[in-house]
Structures are given as structure tokens and as C-alpha cells.
Amino acid sequence: MDGLSLETVAGWGRHPVCRAAVARPERLRLPRAGRVLPRGLGRSYGDAAVPASAQSLVLETVRADRILAFEPSTGALTCEAGLSLAEILRVFVPRGWFTPVSPGTKFVTVGGCVASDVHGKNHHRDGSFGGFVGRLVIETADGRLVECGPDRERELFLATVGGMGLTGLITEATIRLKPIETPWMFVETEPAAGLTEMLDRLRHAGKDWPYTVGWIDCLATGSGLGRGIVIRGRHASRGEAPGVPPRENTPRAVPFDGPAWLLSPALMRAFNTAYYRIQCRRTGGRLVSHDAFFYPLDSLRDWNRLYGRHGFLQYQCVVPRAAGAPVLSELLDRLSRAGAASFLAVIKDFGPESDAYLSFPLEGTTLALDLPYRGPATEDLVHLLNATVIRAGGRIYLAKDAATRREDFERMVPRLPEWRRVRDRWDPEHRFGSALSARLLGDES
């Protein structure tokens, strides 16, 4: 007798929104008929977890979060799809296990991580989330429970990993956790004075370090364009870490929507410069908790409210290694010329792409920017950035997008026709759909 409630549904960027019926059952099961959209913790920024219209039922998985098995000899964890990475870490870090891939927040579900094929700071070495998935159970559009994985129903598996919830409802997953010696991280930071230095340092750090990421002050221009900080880390060994676990921090909440002045270019510039200066002084190694290393933003709950009630877009693209510095500086240049301030520009080296048809990562460099949403001007900027990315042979990350045009998307994803074929086979009537699939695939809403 699980009920429904009528709710306003949005992604983490709070744009766009749609009012629709939401079910939040303790046991995942598709309704017999009608359109559905699976949704986890809603941490995708754009419209991937937003329904295209009120006709669609949003099926939130967060209460289906049971652990079904754990195999200590291999680290294989079987769970319901709504289990969050936060919960996995809470239960398994004390036992010496860590999630194989972590996005920048732990408040994501296993289902959401599979559907977006998320990547972390270790992509250059370990690849994306899908590479650690051994088996999925999927309820397909016709109500069948289908098991798939790298070795069975492989096409369905490759279409579901990175498939943004459009091939079926993932109900169960088996993923491989990785062993760690301590709950501490050993971290080093070093400054980079400009873009070429940044790219060099990232590459260089990637040879020895499992986790690397760069932070760019995207308001710096001219010779300082692309200046920033390179952060590299690894799980600390038993010998170098304290015997006690790090103190847990209680997240503070943002009590109200941010006022417009918070996003003024002057303030952003001051913030970015201050951050850069502080980080420049903090070179050398130090021990930090994994929360502080992987999830700095989680310490401020609901931080998306800082962007005010119009919300924001996040723009994340990847460009192949060969395209390199010129394309990246063109992107940063376009951004600063548009005056679209960004708190956060994150840059990262990616390793080889996976076999999953719609998986985002591609060998090369990825750049992620926050863009406060200012209506058509912001969307135009996205189209402009996309043009550069397409020319370079790159693509954008669907888990963050809300503005890319269909024709641009088609030019970015050569394997799209293959994916469409598999999707049509398992969901010929397109029962599974989102605002994203209406926008980028032409699904009717």
C-alpha cells in the first residue's frame, strides 16, 4: 500500500523542475503500465532524474537500500540499488573497504552511479564505476527481472552502464569494493602557474598517485590562464596513519537561498584568488580524512541553495588528449569573456574510455564548471562551449547537462545508434524516459 505524493522534482542544479507523482517504496517494483523514471538521491545536476512531464511516475530508490551479501575474500558487495555510497562507507570503512570509484559527493546511490557510470579522482588509473560492476538485476519495461553483466546479456549491461536510467530499473547490483589499510588519506598539493603547467603536473602526478585532480582559478586571464592547484592523494598505510579513525564532521545546512550578490563577479574573483593563495602555501604532505579529501562539498549540506532560486548549470566536458591545451584555453577564455563566474573549475586527467555505449569518460582531459543559471544567455554559452568541444572530438557529461541541443549531442556520441538499438529492443515503447531523453533523444514527453 505504498502511496504516492505529488512533488516538485529537480536535479541538484535546481533547473529545470517538473511537478510529478513520486513513489518511494521499500521494495522496488515497476508499476504495470505507464511511463516511469528511476531516481536515486537526485545528485545529477541537470534533467537526467527529472521527468519530462507529469505523466511520468518518478520512482525513487532511496528506501530500497538493503545489503544482500558481502564476500570478504573478494570485496564483492551485493545490494539493492538505492543503497548510498555514504552508507557503504559507514558500514565498510571500519572493516577496511572503500568504494572503488567515488564522485565528489557520497550522497549518491549505487543505481545512480551505475546509470551515470560515474568517475572519480582515480579515473586515470582505475576507470569508471561500471568497471567494478559484476552483475546487475534489471526490471525491464515488460516487468521481467533480467540479470546482466560483462559476461551475460552483455549488450543490456553496456547500454545500462551510463544509460541514464533509460533501459530499465536497476534493482540490484554487485560491485567490487577495494581494500584499504586505514581510513586516512595522504595528500599533497602543489600550485601550477598556468594551463600548460597544470596539464603537465596532472600527467606527472598520475604516474605515481592513484588520485589526482586539479582546481583552476577560472577568473585568472592572460598568462595566468589556467593557474591553479594540483591535488594528489592515496590511502594512507598503517605505518603512517594514526591508529584512530578521523573525527566525523557534522554537516552544516544552508538555511536559505543565496542572494544575488553572492554570485557577483567581484566576489567570485576575490574568493578564487584567496583560495589560490591559501592553497599555494599549503604544499607538502598531510593526512586528512577521506571525507575531507573526496567530499569537501558534503560538509555544507544543500550547498546548491547558494546559487539562489534560479539554480545553476554545471558544464562538464572531456576533450581527447591530442586536442590538449589550445582547446582547453579556448574554453576557459570563452567562459571568462562571457563573464559567467564560476566558483569551481575542476580539471582532471582521464584514462581510456570503457565499452559502455554512453559512458562519458574518454582518454584526455575533463573540465567541470559551475554556471549560475541566467536563462537563455547561459544556454547560449553552453552551445558555444559545445561547439568547441565537438570540434575537438570531445563530449559532455549527461549527469550534469541540462542545456545541450539534440543535434550537438548526436555529433558527440558516435556509439549512439548502437545504444538506441539496444534500448529499443528492451524498451520498445520508451516507458523509461526523462526530461533529458525528451531533449536529447527526441522521446515524446
Partner: protein
């Protein structure tokens, strides 16, 4: 603690069972749906419950089966020392007004069945020197309101019973914890308008666990409801009627 739980597959019961498992308690799950019981059992084992988590059939609407279920739990856990009943029935007032068969079942589950189960367990625990009985009633049993007095009546009866049981068995070592949750956001309450002070199952579970450990006879969860209900209990009937409470 070696606890037998009824209703631990869902909502507040699920959250409470996880806390108990997390600190290494031994658990047995009783309920109606064998698949759900098995899934929750696996979850609790993975989260650290001591030993396997056995499951068994129990329907609160069928008191004839209680003794056998309790015997089985005793065998599986080696003499349990706590019973926790979070299971119960709920339906909106309009449904219960229209459908008296549905109403009869709700009264049966929430009152008759739960009382009989607690009574049998209290005897069992008293015979071996004591233990804990914890059952979830509701703030709806504290004062009748026009909008939910049928459900409220089943819980009012249960609250009165648990109060008495605590008094009667205290000398024989049986502690009784009566939990009165306010509105909690679980699958049971989806679709209902969410009132102020609504709680999450996890925070309710933490409050209940503390009360379990201390043997507190009456717990409101979230705790603010203790004060809310104090005020509501004091409201004169005429005000209740005029305010269409």
C-alpha cells in the same frame, strides 16, 4: 541483546533493526512475507548482527500461531531476552469508516494481536527472570481526533495495555517500553500531508534505542511530540470541536 522483532523489514522497524545489528546484537525476524524477511535478514547479517538472523512466520492477525513462533525464535537464538513489535496496521480514516472488514482487521492487528503476543512473551520472559518488551503505539492514541480516531482507538487501547503491563511485570524483571511516534516519513505515510515536526525513521530509531537501553517506559519520537501531545491532551473538548481537530 537477543531480540525478536516483528515488523523489522520496513520503516521504523528496519531502521531500529539496523542500529541493533550495527552494535552486534543477535536478532530474529518474524513476519508474513518470507522473501522480505530473508532480504532483511541478509541486510542485518552484513551490517554486523551477531550470528545468522533467523526468520519465521508470524501474522499479528493470527494469535493461534504466536506460541509456535516464539518457541522457534527461542530455539534459534537460545532464549531471547527482548521482543520488539514495530509492525502494525494503518489505513486512512475514510477507508476505515467505509470498510468495516478493513476496520476489524486493523483493530485485530494493532490491539488484539499485539496484546496477546506481548502477554505471552511477558510470561515467557518472567519465567526466566526478565527481559524487555517494546511495542510501537502512536501519539494518535493519546487523544481522540475526528480525523483519525479509529486508528487512534486501536493505539489508545495498546498504550493503556502497555502501561499496565509495565506496572504488573516490573517485579518479575520485565521492562516495558511503549513508543509513541508522531508523524514519521515512512512508506506507510507517503501521500499524507506532512505535518510540522515530522520525523525520519533513522532519528526515531536512535531515540528508541536509547530508551530500550535505559528501560524508559514511555518514549515520544521525535521527542518534541511529548510536548505537542501534552498541549493537545490539555485542550478542552469544546476547543477540539470548534477547531475541527
Amino acid at each position: 541483546m537477543k531480540a525478536v522483532m516483528v515488523g523489522a523489514t520496513r520503516g521504523m522497524g528496519r531502521a531500529l533493526a539496523r542500529l541493533l545489528a550495527g552494535r552486534g546484537d543477535a536478532l530474529a525476524l518474524l513476519g508474513r512475507d518470507p522473501n522480505e524477511l530473508l532480504t532483511s535478514s541478509r541486510d542485518l547479517v552484513a551490517r554486523g548482527a551477531s550470528g545468522p538472523v533467523p526468520t519465521g512466520h508470524l501474522d499479528l492477525a493470527e494469535p493461534a500461531g504466536f506460541e509456535a513462533a516464539l518457541d522457534a525464535a527461542d530455539r534459534a537464538l537460545g532464549s531471547f531476552d527482548a521482543l520488539i513489535v514495530t509492525g502494525g496496521d494503518f489505513a486512512p480514516q475514510e477507508t476505515l469508516e467505509r470498510d468495516t472488514a478493513r476496520l476489524a482487521r486493523l483493530l485485530e492487528v494493532n490491539f488484539t494481536g499485539t496484546v496477546v503476543l506481548c502477554q505471552q512473551t511477558a510470561e515467557r520472559l518472567a519465567r526466566r527472570g526478565g527481559g524487555t518488551i517494546c511495542a510501537f503505539s502512536s501519539v494518535a492514541g493519546d487523544r481522540a481526533r475526528r480525523g483519525n480516531y479509529l486508528y487512534g482507538a486501536s493505539k489508545a487501547g495498546l498504550s493503556a495495555y502497555l502501561d499496565g503491563l509495565g506496572l504488573a511485570y516490573a517485579d518479575r524483571g520485565v521492562r516495558v517500553v511503549s513508543v509513541r511516534p508522531g508523524f514519521v516519513k515512512t512508506a506507510m505515510t507517503v501521500g499524507l500531508p506532512v505535518p510540522p515536526f515530522a520525523g525520519e525513521p533513522e532519528s526515531v530509531a536512535r531515540v528508541v534505542l536509547r530508551a530500550l537501553d535505559r528501560g524508559k517506559p514511555v518514549v515520544y519520537a521525535p521527542p518534541i511530540w511529548r510536548w505537542v501531545m501534552l498541549v493537545i491532551r490539555l485542550l478542552p473538548r469544546a476547543v477540539m470541536r470548534r477547531a475541527r481537530f
